[in-house]
């Protein structure tokens, strides 16, 4: 057992209103520069929908992530090392700008300089790349809120998992938003594919970064990442990606996307995991969610704590892991699920699947969406959206998703009984294999938790921080001059 710490995030999808505040604040912070006009480290997709870049989930086309070969060994889906190096001169799996979109700005000057007249001046779209007037025909959330989904949503790769007769009616059935960022995977395909070793996983907190001084522009990471969360800077020709706002995390402050989230639906915390178990979990023949959960270590287990100390994890970090909302939601309550576990990267952004599609369907079926009995009934009988959610969050295991949704529904009914003072007609907690205290603590975390409970981020151990603060991207000769190696 080798204990390592990993920062992770949980997003409670029921609360996401798709406002894209997270995307915009992230862009203002990180990718508001030339060369990355088209890049959204955080983007919000409407599901069902084809996403950004288009159909990123279709790994038969992009060959991202890992797969298990005939001998049960884990391989990058894009092939062995030699095969990939042979394609280094031109990477057949790389998306192009057309797969993302042609970013636009507007000719705002016209609005300011137009002479007085009868007609309202119009700011026409101009390409942020060419500077030429352009027609808007696609964007990173073109199919937002199911807009045009008659055309696009059927192309959603996750729809393939939903059986035909129900596929036709999804438009009346459900819709939800899926905010996406780099998953800071435990088994990152981007890192494994980087020919120059420029991409790395920080040993202290697991944040996956690109060393801009070492990246040589081989652009293998972009196609290897199944979530398409590494991007090429058009001008520098180097890879860039979500940094999990590491300068903020090091100070114990949440990421920009989390802090600005209007729905307050994001949680950040630590998980302790057994680094020696990662390979086996990633290569697991089945039950991928369970396999992923099996690598995490209970921070309240004295044996784990003792080993964590031996492995150099500080007391404050161990305490943070014990108070971690990510541990609580993903491991204790087991209501958070990883996105596309079948990519086998062991992603660390977890999602609480939305109950709202089921609630809508319950009402549509004439049931009471506030009554867990009716909701249970709907969950058990409605194959969509269940199969669809299972394709996203559980490698197709609809029962797993059903269990989560029932628990969320039971929690609501339990709390309803408590607050309305009605006598519970049934013991909701036992019906979902939980206890009243557990459901109440889950409720507290999901409904009323303050910032200090939603973000439990221990500041980095930077005993050598003063020295590191002097580190810049300047000429290394300067550092030689002041006596640094």
């Amino acid at each position: 057992m080798r204990v390592m710490a990993q920062v992770g995030m949980v997003l409670n999808l029921d609360k996401c209103i798709g406002c894209a505040t997270c995307s915009v604040t992230c862009k203002q912070t990180w990718t508001n520069r030339d060369g990355v006009e088209y890049v959204w480290f955080n983007n919000v997709e409407t599901k069902p929908g084809i996403g950004y870049p288009k159909r990123w989930e279709d790994q038969s086309a992009w060959r991202g992530g890992w797969r298990v070969d005939a001998n049960g060994r884990l391989r990058l889906a894009s092939g062995g090392k030699l095969k990939r190096l042979s394609r280094i001169f031109a990477n057949p799996d790389l998306p192009t700008l057309d797969d993302y979109y042609d970013p636009a700005t507007y000719d705002f000057d016209t609005l300011l300089t137009a002479p007085a007249g009868d007609r309202m001046p119009v700011a026409r779209p101009i390409s942020a790349i060419t500077g030429q007037p352009m027609r808007l025909t696609w964007g990173p959330n073109w199919d937002d809120d199911l807009g045009g989904s008659g055309r696009y949503a059927a192309d959603d790769p996750d729809m393939a998992a939903v059986r035909d007769q129900v596929r036709m009616s999804f438009e009346q059935t459900f819709m939800f938003h899926l905010p996406r960022l780099c998953e800071h995977c435990l088994n990152p395909a981007c890192v494994a594919s980087c020919p120059s070793g420029a991409m790395y996983k920080r040993a202290s907190d697991g944040i996956v970064l690109v060393d801009q001084n070492k990246c040589r522009g081989w652009r293998m990471c972009v196609s290897a990442c199944p979530y398409k969360k590494v991007y090429i800077n058009r001008l520098s020709g180097k890879a860039e990606k979500c940094t999990f706002c590491f300068p903020r995390i090091e100070q114990g402050v949440p990421t920009v996307c989390a802090e600005t989230c209007v729905g307050r639906l994001r949680y950040i915390g630590l998980l302790l995991y057994d680094a020696d178990a990662v390979g086996e979990a990633a290569a697991s023949p089945g039950d991928l969610v369970e396999a992923q959960r099996s690598v995490f270590l209970d921070p309240n287990d004295p044996a784990v704590v003792a080993q964590a100390r031996r492995d150099g994890i500080g007391e404050d970090w161990i305490a943070a892991a014990q108070a971690s909302p990510v541990w609580a939601l993903a491991m204790r309550h087991k209501v958070a699920l990883p996105l596309h576990p079948e990519y086998r990267t062991l992603p660390m952004i977890w999602y609480i699947p939305p109950l709202s599609p089921v609630l809508d369907a319950t009402s549509a079926m004439g049931g009471d969406s506030a009554d867990a009995d009716d909701v249970f009934h709907a969950v058990a009988n409605l194959r969509i959206p269940l199969e669809y959610l299972a394709a996203l969050f559980a490698d197709g295991d609809a029962d797993l998703v059903a269990g989560v949704l029932m628990k969320l529904s039971a929690m609501r009914s339990h709390m309803r009984c408590l607050t309305t003072g009605r006598v519970a007609s049934d013991d909701w907690a036992t019906r979902v294999g939980s206890t009243a205290e557990e459901l109440e603590s889950l409720y507290r975390l999901l409904a009323v938790a303050k910032m200090s409970e939603r973000y439990v981020i221990p500041p980095a151990h930077r005993e050598d921080a003063a020295e590191l603060a002097g580190w810049t991207t300047g000429c290394p000769l300067d550092q030689v001059a002041v006596g640094r190696p």
Binding site: L82, F89, A90, L97, R216
Partner: protein
Amino acid sequence: MNWSVVLFGVWPYIALAVFVVGHIWRWRCDQLGWTTRTSELSEKRWLMWASPIFHLGMLLVIAGHALGLLVPPAATAALGISETAYHMVAVGAGVTAGLVLAVGVVLLVLRRFILRTRLRLVTRPGDVVVYALAVVVVAFGLWATFAANVAGPGYDYRETIAVWFRSIFYCQPQVDLMASAPWQYQVHVTAAWALIAAWPFSRLVHVWSAPLGYLTRPAIVYREQP
């Protein structure tokens, strides 16, 4: 001042000095700019053909030059390879490799400069210089070989140009050998030295980073920040 001394006795040293000092400077001060500056994001259809053809041709041509310029005739003779046999193979393989390279260069130039694609927006002055020189070097190299060996009676560069090339590194440049070579070769080598001089300031530095270490590296890299 004798021009042949300048071109074949002085220019190579200037180019080599710029090449060496330029690389040291670039490596130490511009890690951030040390990249292939991939343009596949902006244009992929043509690149899928052009880049592999170009690189294949280039690697073959580099290997051919190493053989032709660095291995003296005595060495091949000692291996029992007759001069005519060597000549046949060298011209045959050399011309083939040169043509592959030429196709690659033409496709890359078309892609980058002629077609109206997004590439124009990411093209820098360095690219213009490198491609201009590359076109000259490749065109005159092929022309010289065709004129002398395919159409003409044959020209034994191993007794002249190769000796001159090696003499540069012995610091006793035998300028006359190059000055007496056909003029197409003279243009070829002069432009080639210019390409060498431009090398450290262009994207060509990516060649030195060819990722062979990847083959033996563990999959996941864990480290702390620099």
